[in-house]
């Protein structure tokens, strides 16, 4: 099964398609190799790693150091593939117990920061250039933090993109109590909290939502006074374009507003932690309500199944809107097309649409007319 994984001793005897892996867990190192062309599945890789470290009974997260020295996560096939293919020459893998990993999230500069904390604090402005690293083509927007300028710093509005994504949203919510500041002092009020993340789910992979974050709004509508079931229904009804405003349990990772972020004195090392390697870090300001409407799902209408010659072909316009919302201007077009392809393929993989119908016959209707 793990044909592509080999112990490192045998490395020398293989051709250059092998990638040497140095895996570190605590103070222990393990070395082995992977096939650069066919790295295999993340799942198998994960099994191999925990096996070689003899830590099969602990939950761990796996990260790697990319070419820029950033600690990036390996938690799905895509980024595993990316990690292996971009390793030069050595793939450095860092393993952390899950509970420990929560406190130091992945991100740009997170690895180097840990090594040289002093140096980092001084070169804040320089690191801003990291934001303009060209995005790898295979990445797609999965989430974004929006409305930073209108929200209190303690809140975070996260937009999750499910279009073109096979992943489940992957989180659970629960009832709880939160403490509010009221005129007569602190008062306890019922609230809705994120209770669990599904490993490998969209919510987890973005890193923007975490267990015990309090949910304040769903798509702009306050959840205060609503029951858990109501909030669940609202989230599911909005699942195609879910915008959740949370009060993160971990307030150290908040995005700092533009004006303050510039002053390097105001930056703690923590405030940078949410800077992600993913395009999600692009801050979209003031998402206009129009745009929230525009990426509305369009129903698929099949005319007379007796003449099977049609294939669902979403209109390019609406697609651009679907994906464009999360991409900052200045993205090169290949990225966009990539996601278009992905979306199309995902549509096709739906058995309902697998009638193998040629394009042209489907009636597609744009967003609904608003009164």
């Amino acid at each position: 099964m793990n044909r592509s994984f080999h112990k490192s001793q045998t490395l020398r005897f293989y051709d250059c398609s092998a990638v040497e892996v140095k895996s570190k867990f605590g103070a222990e190192f393990r070395r082995f190799s992977l096939d650069r062309q066919k790295p295999g599945k993340f799942e198998d890789f994960y099994k191999l790693v925990v096996h070689t470290h003899h830590i099969s009974n602990t939950e761990v997260t796996i990260g790697y150091a990319d070419v820029h020295g950033d600690l990036l996560p390996i938690n799905n096939d895509d980024n595993f593939c990316k990690a292996v293919s971009s390793a030069s020459p050595l793939l450095r893998v860092f393993i952390q117990k899950r509970e420990e990993a929560e406190h130091c999230s992945f991100g740009v500069g997170s690895l180097s920061r840990r090594r040289r904390p002093l140096a980092l604090r001084e070169d804040g402005p320089r690191r801003r250039t990291h934001l303009h690293i060209g995005l790898p083509h295979d990445f797609r927007p999965v989430s974004s933090i929006i409305d930073v300028d209108i929200l209190p710093e303690t809140h975070r509005r996260v937009r999750l993109y499910r279009h073109g994504c096979q992943k489940p949203l992957g989180f659970y919510i629960r009832d709880g109590t939160s403490v509010r500041v009221a005129p007569q002092g602190l008062e306890k009020v019922p609230g809705i909290f994120i209770s669990r993340m599904v490993p490998g789910g969209l919510a987890e992979s973005t890193g923007l939502l975490a267990v015990d974050d309090e949910v304040l709004e769903v798509n702009g509508i306050e959840v205060a006074g609503k029951t858990l079931d109501q909030v669940t229904d609202m989230m599911i009804a909005n699942s195609h374009n879910l915008i959740v405003t949370v009060k993160p349990a971990n307030q150290r990772n908040n995005v700092v507003r533009g004006s303050r972020a510039l002053g390097s004195s105001g930056r703690s090392s923590d405030s940078t932690a949410s800077r992600h390697s993913l395009p999600a870090a692009h801050v979209l300001q003031n998402l206009p309500p129009d745009e929230m409407e525009s990426d509305e799902e369009a129903d698929v209408v099949l005319e007379g199944v007796l003449e099977p010659r049609l294939v669902p072909r979403p209109p390019p316009g609406s697609l651009a809107r679907v994906n464009g919302a999360g991409l900052a201007p200045g993205l090169h077009s290949p990225g966009r097309e990539g996601s278009v392809q992905r979306l199309l393929s995902s549509l096709r993989s739906d058995p309902r649409h697998s009638l193998a119908l040629p394009p042209g016959g489907v009636e597609e209707h744009g967003p609904a007319v608003t009164l």
């Binding site: 949203l169 109501q230 229904d233 009636e363």
Partner: protein, 1047 residues
């Protein structure tokens, strides 16, 4: 979309909305859930029922209903009307007393609570000292005697509930006044019975539980008589003339004690154990009632042989050598006997036995030989068998209405002719029939008060489907929900039980002479028989009924009995899908050969779905003679004219294994229910530990409580959580067909309209089939053809709960045959039609035939509520006669009711109606076409509500307070004309006639019930002039009684 939320402040529209919409919960139909007390006022002829939740409900003549709710959520234990007054006292199980009265406000009586009171003992007394066991309202209406557990009788003055401590009759005081030889026995304990002397208000009878009965002189404070029984006393009855006391005892016997001037009776002269000689259960209540003929009626509760019939709930009636033990299917709460109300009359002459059982009210006619049951006009037991679905049909044509009533009347032959009739319908023809019936039959005996509610403007039917395979047809036009006809589908199938199993299986000479009465029978022979969907065409009399095992029956109304075979067809909904195995119940086995059917709805076609999953949707088009049905696997169309299947369509997703495994309810939440049951086990373990009585103190106890605490913490550590996941095509039960709809519309192009069938699934898919129905003359020759024309996948994939086509004027298409019967304008076929698809999350309007989205209203995304029920309704304005608008009435899973406008989908009004936790209430809701609705508030009660200002069915009734009536008569003695301002047909020439006893009188009387009332009031006025309070009271009782006994 958010712009919808802002209330558009168009003042004209807001004003119009006020004229159109108004939310009212108007009346509760059915039998009160968990009744706990019964009261009856012979003078008002009003029945009162108290419930365990603290509600009291009053019922008089059909349509006269009142409801009150105690502030405390405590069970009503006793209800007592104050003699001759519109006031009643209730005792709750928290030992509090409450005084209620019927007050006239704006011409209509209202029930309201005036006063409440809790009896306080002397400081330091045990709480049992004031625990009330018996309440006796004194005939003076000023005093209330309260018997307690301590044996003392307290006196309280009304209406202020002032305790008169100096008049307390303590057991010590009674003891002192007893002769020496009785004193040595501890004869006291709690007070079991308190009665006033039927003739002398100065004497009361006190019965103590140990067997001592004393007659106490209130003025002299002395014991007039005492009787001592060797058995524990249960209850006492005082004969009408006061010369005999009958006591009943815990050993199942009763004793008769003649009352004479002697102070002591050594032994009861006559004692009897009716169901002896083997040990019997206690007789808990007894009536000893005299008749003109001489032989008394003995009516008692209990007393059955302990070993073999100890578990029966029986009331026995003994009279003139006849004895019957009426055997009830549920516990008897209380009973009363309706007798001559005039206290001056020499005899009781009982005419009806009223029994309040846990699940139904049973009334027995004691005047007719054989003591047949009477069908009450209200308090119907809706839940005789559990209700599984309901269907409402408005505005039934008179023809169909009469045919259904005729079919039903043949089913009710075992009932007494003493029936309660609903108020006369307005139509002249129906009124005639109604009056005819009224003359032929005697009147319902509990007929106090006058219903002022206008006659219902139309005939409405509510059909309820039941677990035992029956469909009941209820007259839902007015305040009284009356059973018209009962249809059983069981005959069509082979079941284990014989449907001819009669109510009275017992032989003639059985002892005890048990007779089953009542209709409550919650035990279903076969759950597969349960009715799930009903569809009635009111114009053609075609009925489609579908059930739990995939059976679909098409029935036709036939006025004659018939014997014919039912055509059977199997619909294979899986078609060519291979490799599935149905793990649920088997399909029902149809009875081969011809079956005998009663007059009424007779099945002629049986379609059985394969796999036999529960039918989840049903539609009938009587004009095209087509019936469509859907299950969790697919849907099919059946031509019931040619009796052949047109097509079936499988909607099952290839990966959906769950849908195949069996009945939905069992599989759907298996994982969840497992999890829940584990939690429940854990919790019950914790709580049972808590409840265990304290053992030896010390170490063990402590350890246990610690374990308890950790257990509790464990429970709290596992909070409820909800998964957030988008719907996908792979979800389970996406193929579940939720709704089916027939429409004649533009499906293929905008030039030709054609018949079409629309189906919506749980996965947000809508299928549209174009149908070709041959013209009438070739209807039998050419087959009906169908081909799929459209398939719409809603991207949000929420279950489709409603489909509707709007015509060119944006009015919903009329029902089939509606236009043919001239009852609706024909739909506009010029303008373009629109398709409305209602999913649980959104409302969406599409243009036809292109199915391009026009409008939508999101519900869930904005409010978190989901559509549970939707119905198109038209709303009339309360100001403009002919003005009406068509809208959608929507019930959400939060129990809110909203009106959403058509076709613009603007929310109009919103009212909270049902508690969101009341899942079964929300699931049972059904809307009418006129903006009313029904939902179950308990297994046995429908709450009726109205969203319309125009269509409102609510009780409006007047109960004349006997006192005020009497006084007004005394002040100036007006003629009957002046006594009440209501218009009436003519004067009364039958003054002084006996009403009850003379059917001649019935004929002599005029058509209007009000005339009767007037005659009564005249009678009353005549009597009311006498002097002292006793004759005044007599007049009260007389005036309101069912007529004079001694003239």
């Amino acid at each position: 979309m958010r712009r919808f939320l802002r209330p558009g402040h168009d003042p004209a529209r807001e004003r119009l909305k006020r004229d159109l919409f108004q939310f009212n919960k108007t009346v509760e139909h059915g039998f009160p859930h968990q009744p706990s007390a019964l009261g009856y006022s012979p003078s008002l002829r009003i029945l009162a029922i108290g419930t365990r939740s603290g509600a009291i409900k009053l019922y008089g003549a059909p349509g006269v209903e009142f409801m009150g709710l105690h502030r405390e959520n405590n069970a009503a234990v006793q209800i007592h009307f104050l003699p001759g007054q519109c006031r009643l006292v209730t005792l709750l199980d928290d030992n509090s007393l409450h005084l209620w009265s019927l007050k006239v406000k704006g011409g209509v009586s209202e029930l309201q609570e005036d006063e409440s009171f809790t009896l306080r003992g002397p400081p330091g007394a045990a709480p049992s000292a004031t625990q009330i066991t018996v309440v006796l309202p004194h005939s003076s209406c000023q005093l209330l005697y309260l018997g307690t557990e301590s044996g003392s009788v307290f006196v309280v003055q009304l209406p202020a509930f002032r305790a008169l401590e100096d008049r307390t009759i303590s057991s010590e005081a009674v003891l002192q006044r007893l002769p020496e030889e009785v004193r040595h026995r501890r004869a006291f304990e709690m007070v079991e019975a308190l009665q006033e002397h039927p003739r002398d208000p100065n004497q009361i009878l006190i019965g103590y539980s140990r067997g001592l009965v004393v007659i106490w002189d209130l003025q002299g404070s002395c014991v007039l008589c005492h009787f001592l029984s060797s058995q524990q006393l249960e209850n006492v009855c005082w004969q009408r003339d006061g010369h005999l006391i009958v006591s009943c005892h815990s050993d199942g016997g009763y004793c008769q004690w003649p009352v004479s001037s002697d102070t002591l009776q050594p032994e009861p002269p006559r004692s009897c154990v009716p169901y002896g000689p083997f040990p019997c259960k206690a007789i808990t209540k007894i009536f000893w009632l005299t008749t003109k003929q001489g032989l008394p009626f003995t009516i008692f509760q209990g007393g059955m042989p302990r070993a073999s019939y100890g578990d029966r709930h029986c009331i026995s009636v003994v009279h003139n050598g006849q004895q019957t033990a009426f055997d009830f299917t549920s516990r008897v709460i209380d009973f009363t006997v309706l007798t001559e109300a005039n206290p001056e009359a020499a005899f009781d002459d009982p005419y009806a036995l009223v029994v309040l059982a846990e699940e139904e009210l049973v009334v027995i006619d004691l005047q007719t030989a054989g003591w047949p049951p009477v069908q009450p006009p209200y308090l119907a037991s809706l839940h005789c068998s559990a209700i599984t679905c309901s269907h409402h049909v408005s505005n039934i044509p008179l023809k169909l209405w009469e045919r259904i009533i005729a079919a039903g009347s043949r089913q009710n032959t075992h009932f007494s002719t003493m029936v309660g009739l609903a108020p006369a319908p307005p139509q002249p023809r129906a009124r005639l029939a109604h009056e005819l019936l009224r003359h032929l039959l005697q009147e319902w005996p509990i007929n106090g008060g006058t219903s002022l509610a206008p006659a219902p403007p139309q005939r409405d039917l509510l059909l309820t489907g039941h677990e035992d395979g029956t469909v009941r047809f209820w007259d839902a036009s007015g305040v009284c929900l009356r059973l018209l006809y009962k249809l059983s589908t069981v005959r069509v199938f082979l079941t284990d039980t014989d449907p001819n199993d009669s109510l009275n299986a017992q032989g003639e000479d059985e002892w005890p002479p048990l007779r089953k009465v009542g209709s409550f029978d919650p035990y279903s022979d076969d759950p597969r028989l349960g009715i799930q969907k009903i569809f009635l065409c009111k114009y053609s009399g075609y009925l489609a009924v579908a059930g739990t095992a995939g059976q679909v029956l098409v029935l036709e109304l036939n006025d004659e009995e018939a014997e014919h075979a039912v055509e059977q067809v199997e619909a294979d909904l899986l078609q060519d899908q291979e490799g599935y195995r149905w793990k649920g119940h088997e399909r029902l086995c149809a009875r081969p050969g011809p079956v005998h059917f009663e007059p009424g709805f007779q099945p002629f076609v049986l379609v059985q779905c394969q796999p036999p999953a529960v039918v989840t949707s049903l539609a009938l088009h009587s004009e095209w003679r087509l019936v469509a049905f859907g299950t969790s696997h697919g849907f099919g169309l059946f031509d019931h004219q040619q009796r052949r299947q047109v097509f079936v369509k499988c909607t099952l997703h290839p990966n959906d294994q769950l849908a195949l495994e069996g009945p939905l309810s069992r599989v759907k939440s298996l994982k969840k229910s497992l999890r829940q049951s584990f939690r429940r086990i854990r919790r019950s373990r914790v709580s049972s530990r808590k409840r265990r009585p304290a053992g030896p103190p010390g170490e063990v106890q402590e350890g246990r409580s610690r374990a308890e605490r950790t257990g509790l913490q464990n429970v709290e550590l596992a909070p409820v959580q909800r998964k957030i996941e988008a719907r996908s095509a792979e979800d389970s039960f996406t193929g579940f067909v939720r709704t089916l709809y027939f429409a004649d519309t533009y499906l293929r192009d905008s030039f030709r309209h054609c018949p079409s069938l629309w189906a919506g699934t749980n996965g947000g898919t809508v299928y549209a089939f174009a149908l070709r129905v041959p013209p009438a003359e070739r209807r039998m020759d050419e087959p009906v053809r169908a081909e799929q024309a459209k398939e719409i996948q809603l991207m949000h994939r929420a279950p489709v709960v409603g489909i509707l086509v709007l015509d060119g004027h944006s009015v919903p298409l009329p029902e089939p045959l509606e236009v043919a019967h001239d009852l609706s304008k024909s739909p506009d076929m010029q303008g373009s039609h629109q398709l409305l698809v209602v999913s649980e999350e959104q409302f969406k309007v599409f243009a036809l035939p292109g199915v391009s989205a026009r409008l939508k209203l999101k519900l869930t995304a904005l409010e978190g509520s989901r559509v549970r029920r939707v119905g198109a309704a038209h709303f009339g304005s309360c100001r403009a006669e002919r003005y009406r608008e068509h809208h959608l009435a929507v019930l959400t899973n939060l129990g809110d009711i909203q009106v959403v406008s058509l076709p613009l989908l603007k929310p109009q009004v919103r009212y909270s109606c049902i508690r969101r936790e009341d899942v079964s209430g929300i699931a049972s809701c059904v809307f009418t076409k006129h903006g009313q609705g029904f939902y179950l508030i308990s297994p046995s009660e429908f709450e009726r509500f109205s969203l319309s200002t125009k269509w409102l069915v609510e009780p409006r009734c007047l109960v004349d307070s006997a006192e005020t009536k009497n006084h007004s008569r005394l002040c100036d003695r007006p003629g009957p004309e002046k006594a009440s301002g209501r218009a009436r047909n003519s004067g009364s020439q039958s003054d002084g006639e006996e009403r009850r006893s003379g059917p001649v009188m019935e004929h002599a009387l005029l058509n209007d019930e009000r005339v009767l009332k007037e005659i009564q009031s005249t009678l009353e006025g005549d009597r009311g002039s006498c002097g002292d309070w006793r004759s005044q009271r007599a007049a009260v009782g007389y005036g309101l009684s069912n007529g004079g006994g001694c003239s």
